[in-house]
Symmetry: C2
Subunit: 217 residues, 2 copies
């Protein structure tokens, strides 16, 4: 698991992997090797051309996990999937793509409210596959998402942050979204289905499900 982007999202992903196993005993769970590296270059700065690429760091993490014995790779950070090809090229291991797995869960949507940071939006990581599937995309206010994600990364997941997330989600529904995608792994820490008036797909949960399915295969 190529993690640490951010650390709280990685801890949340770990907890979902645990909860996703109907385990009577420790040994019913898969072994998970995690590199939680919060020092990977910033994805938004890289895509904006104002910072170095995270590609080499992500590739190095992939190689380290492979050397430690990993059988498959996953990366619980949507924006980092802009550099998924660097991860794929770094080892021979299968890579479970969070974007592909999440798009598969959006079948039937007319218009998706895409809650994501600038790097994910600008790299069109979800726009391309959704538009190819004939599904419309509504973007949120970027400053609003950036402020919310910064808040979560700073450790604030309290009622005020949750209220801001609720307002953001409601805005997307008001402008036509009939499904919401939490396409940033910080978002589910402050936004859950009860706060949304349309179905919410959490990319973190989609990836956890896909990892457990692959580990059980």
């Amino acid at each position: 698991m190529i993690g640490g982007m951010g650390p709280a999202a990685t801890a949340d992903f770990m907890a979902r992997l645990v909860r996703g196993v109907a385990a009577g005993h420790d040994h019913d769970h898969p072994r998970i090797l995690v590199d939680s590296n919060p020092h990977v270059p910033d994805r938004n700065a890289a895509l904006a051309g104002t910072g170095p690429s995270p590609g080499p760091a992500l590739a190095a993490m992939a190689r380290g996990l492979a050397a430690q014995g990993a059988a498959l790779l996953a990366m619980p950070c949507n924006a980092a999937h802009g550099w998924a090809d660097d991860v794929r090229a770094a080892t021979d291991l299968p890579f479970i793509d969070m974007i592909d797995a999440s798009v598969a869960r959006l079948a039937g949507a007319r218009t998706v409210g895409l809650i994501a940071v600038a790097a994910t939006l600008d790299a069109r990581l979800y726009h391309r596959p959704l538009e190819a599937a004939g599904i419309g995309v509504i973007e949120p206010d970027r400053a609003e998402v950036a402020a919310l994600v910064a808040r979560v990364k700073a450790g604030d997941v309290g009622p005020a942050a949750q209220a801001a997330a609720t307002v953001l989600a409601a805005g997307l529904v008001a402008t036509g979204a009939d499904m919401l995608l939490a396409a940033c792994t910080e978002i589910p820490l402050v936004l859950g289905q009860p706060q949304c008036r349309v179905p919410l797909v959490e990319t973190t949960q989609v990836l956890a499900d896909a990892v457990l399915e692959a580990a059980a295969a």
Copy 2:
């Protein structure tokens, strides 16, 4: 981090490491390499002589983490500390001992209610240092602790499991404990300070604090 004993305790430990950093940004957090391995031989069976030693598996995990670049080692499982010497011997890295760190937090206690599984009790991991410090130890009913830990490992951390933990803690206080030690990393998932009438020291939190302190040094 030598983890996975059990997986939920490891996820809880990761979350505590995240919460313990007053971080404005991802890069304020330390990098954490985790081997969450739920296939380590059972500690209770090993100490009872009915199963293989977990020592070789723990040593192999330590070597793998060292090879990946770890600068220090920690192991959020109390019972596994019965094989801490195997971990220490496996690499040249500093090992943050959860037992030592926790005992240091019990200064001032007269009698500690030691909430731990059989392997931890039988190896006298806490008895020895506490008795050396002139602190008394009260043991819980082993079957009660085993049932509670099995419940948590099976994913049950709901109100009934919490009530069982409350009753267990109250029993130790009734028989004379003036401080409680959650000396099994599954316990804090169902027992918190509000459920206890005397101070509760959580070994998981003690280790998280010690790791963050060492990482910041």
